[in-house]
Amino acid sequence: MNHENPSFVLFGLSFNPANIMMLFITCLIVFLIAFFSTRNLKVKPTGMQNFMEWVMDFVKGIIKNNMDWRTGGRFHVLGITLIMFVFVANMLGLPMAVVVDHKLWWKSPTADPVITMTLATMVVVLTHFYGVKMLGVKGYFKTYLQPMPFLAPLKIIEEFANTLTLGLRLYGNIFAGEILIGLLASLGASSAFGLAGALIPALAWQGFSIFIGAIQAFIFVMLTMVYMAHKVDTDH
């Protein structure tokens, strides 16, 4: 399990080519699914269009749970892209992990804390951005004094806690899933006896990982909208 990550340095910044590749594959898959299921759209939907519309309505439901649709409608695109991206990213590491020269190339991009924390930070930064944009600078700072002014320090800590938990929850779940799949796979590869012992747990865990991947994608988008609602809705 002690694989190293490949890396190279460009413009003084270090890159992990495995991450970049997996991110690109994730983006490509998400784009292709979305692109081909929205070809020849009909008012009376068929096939994949139904599925995409279900995803859209699902995300719409998440947003509507947290805020007024007039406020939340603008986050619809963000939400759908996020849920598809995170879900596909979670799924990528399930069927296999490819290790070349002790370097891990194929994995879930969300099994890397840098990526999940980047996504989480991006989301939190967006919430602050929209908070300022929609409530004004004064309204934005006022939210820190609500419900009680003396809770302001907690509210500030909450922002960092939100970011950390949002990113690390996703990372932890997916990384743990991959570790266990890797362990079961190495057990299965060790001997015929090991294969017999590892087969059923591996299958079960992969199935469970699909479930976890879906749940984590849902939670990620759900929390994104919860944090967004805290910043842009005056009711909360």
């Binding site: 991110l23 983006c27 299921s37 859209m56 804390p113």
Partner: protein, 183 residues
């Protein structure tokens, strides 16, 4: 790895800070992640979500229109039904009045016919009575004439001489009339 990064973030920034951070954290990956995600979102919005949302809005509009149209046609059909009902009632009334009129007409015609028939009968009765009277008169006159001739014949036989019919006729007839009246 991550905890150390946060410790570093809180450290004072200097020339070596970024390089030191870079050793532990793939700063490039952060940029790539955000960049990829943003590009993906923009592309999807243009190629997938935008058209799909358009279609869904279109459908919502279509459904709203359909509901509106259905409501409109429902009202229209209700109005038509009401109209038809009124027309039917009118037609029924018309038919009733026509039947009534026909009945009345038939009644009056029957009355007229009866009256005419009755008048005809009366008239015929009268003319028959009249005819009978004249016939009777005629018969009486004929009998009377015959009786006169027979009387003259009898008298001439009794008297044994020819009574001039022309001389005595007036007398005899007068006698017969008187006898008739006296009877």
């Amino acid at each position: 790895m991550f905890g150390e990064s946060f410790v570093l973030l809180s450290a004072k920034a200097d020339a070596g800070f970024l390089a030191a951070l870079n050793d532990r954290l793939n700063l490039g990956d952060i940029i790539v992640t955000v960049l990829f995600f943003t590009i993906l979102m923009v592309l999807l919005k243009k190629f997938a979500w935008g058209p799909l949302m358009g279609v869904m809005d279109q459908r919502a509009e279509l459904i709203a229109n359909e509901i509106e149209a259905a409501e409109k046609s429902r009202l229209e059909s209700e109005k038509l039904l009401e109209e038809q009902r009124a027309l039917l009632k009118e037609a029924r009334d018309n038919a009733q009045s026509i039947v009534d009129n026909a009945k009345k007409l038939g009644e009056s015609q029957r009355e007229e016919l009866i009256v005419a028939a009755r008048a005809e009968v009366n008239r015929m009765k009268e003319s028959a009575a009249l005819e009978i009277a004249t016939e009777k008169e005629k018969a009486v006159a004929a009998v009377r004439e015959e009786f006169v001739s027979l009387s003259i014949l009898a008298a001439s036989k009794v008297l044994g001489k020819e009574i001039s019919e022309e001389d005595n006729r007036a007398l005899i007839e007068e006698t017969i009339v008187k006898a008739g009246e006296g009877r």
